[in-house]
Amino acid sequence: MLTVSIYRYNPEIDQEPYMQDFEFDAQGKDLMVLDVLEKLKVEDPTLVFRRSCREGVCGSDGVNISGKNGLACITPISDAVRGNKLVIRPLPGLPVIRDLVIDMAQFYAQYEKIQPYMINDSAPPKIERLQSPEERSKLDGLYECILCACCSTACPSFWWNPEKFIGPSGLLQAYRFLADSRDTGTEERLSNLDDPFSVFRCHGIMNCVQVCPKGLNPTKAIGHIRKMLISSPA
C-alpha cells in the first residue's frame, strides 16, 4: 500500500488548504502519477485536477510531484515515491483555484506579451517561404514547448515578479521567434525585452532546465536573447 498525500482546497468549503492522505494499491504496477489520480477520483469525485492527452504533449497536468514540478501523465510512480509516500501539490507560485488546479492567467499573460506569432509584413509568396534545414534546425528545442508552466513555476524570479519577469517559458518562445529566419520583427521584439525585468531577472539558476518535461533548455535561450540584445544596433 502506497500513501498518496494530496493538496486539497475547495474555496467554497475550506478555510485553508490541507494535505489529505489516501491509501492506494498499485498492484505492483509502475503506474503513471496521472493513473493514480484518475483512480483516486473514481473513489473521491471531489478531487480536482486538469488532464487531457495523457501522453505528455498537451501540458495540462503539470503538478508538483514529491517536490519536483512535472507532468503527472509521464512521471512513473517509481520515479516519484519516497519512502512509500507520493506527495502531490499544485504547481507553486500561482494562485490555487481548487485542489491541484492553479490560475494560470499570469503565466499566459507573459506568453502573450512576447508577441508569440510570426511578424513578417512582406507579401507572402505563392508557395511557402523557403527556409533551409540549417535555419529550421535553429527552432529545434524551442518550438516544442507545451506551455505546461512547470518551468516558470519552478523559477524564484517568476515567483517574486510574475507580472514583470516574462519567465522561462515565455522567453523560450520569444527566442523561438527571434531565431526564425522568416520573422522580421527582431528589433521590435528586442526593444520590448530590454527593460530590467523581462529578461534580466533571470539569474541563470537553471531550475527551468531541471524540470522541463520536454527536455528543453530555457536558460540557454535566454543567454541567446541577451547576446542579441548586446549586439543589437539600437
Binding site: W160, N161, D194, D195, P196, S198, F200, R226, A234
Partner: protein, 122 residues
Amino acid sequence: MIDKAVRFYHSGLFDWFVQRVTALLMTAYLIFMLIYLFINPDLSYGQWEALNKSLGMRAFTFLTMIAMLSHAWIGNWCVLTDYVTERLIGPKANFIRNSIRFGMAILTFAYIAWAINILWRF
C-alpha cells in the same frame, strides 16, 4: 546618440553590463592584492605606504571602490524588488523599499567620502 545613451541607461542591459564590468574590476583588484602580498611576505609599512601613495594605485583602489558600490547598489535594488514588494509584504512595501534605498544612498556617499579621505590623507 544621446537617445541611445539614455535608452541604454534605462535598459536592463545597462545594469547587467555594469554588474559584469564591476565584477571584473573587483576580481582584478583582489588578484593583484593577493599576488602583491604573496611576493612580499615581509611587507613593511614603508613599502605598503609607497604602493598606496602612487597615483596609479590610488586610482585603482578608488575605481574598485566605486565598482563595489555600484555593484552593491544594483544588487541591492534587485533583492529589494524581489522581496520587498507589495505582492509579498503588502501596501507598506514601497515605503519600506524606498526608505532602504534612501539609507543606501546616504551610506554610499558616505563610503565615497570616506574612501577619498583615506586615499588622499597620506
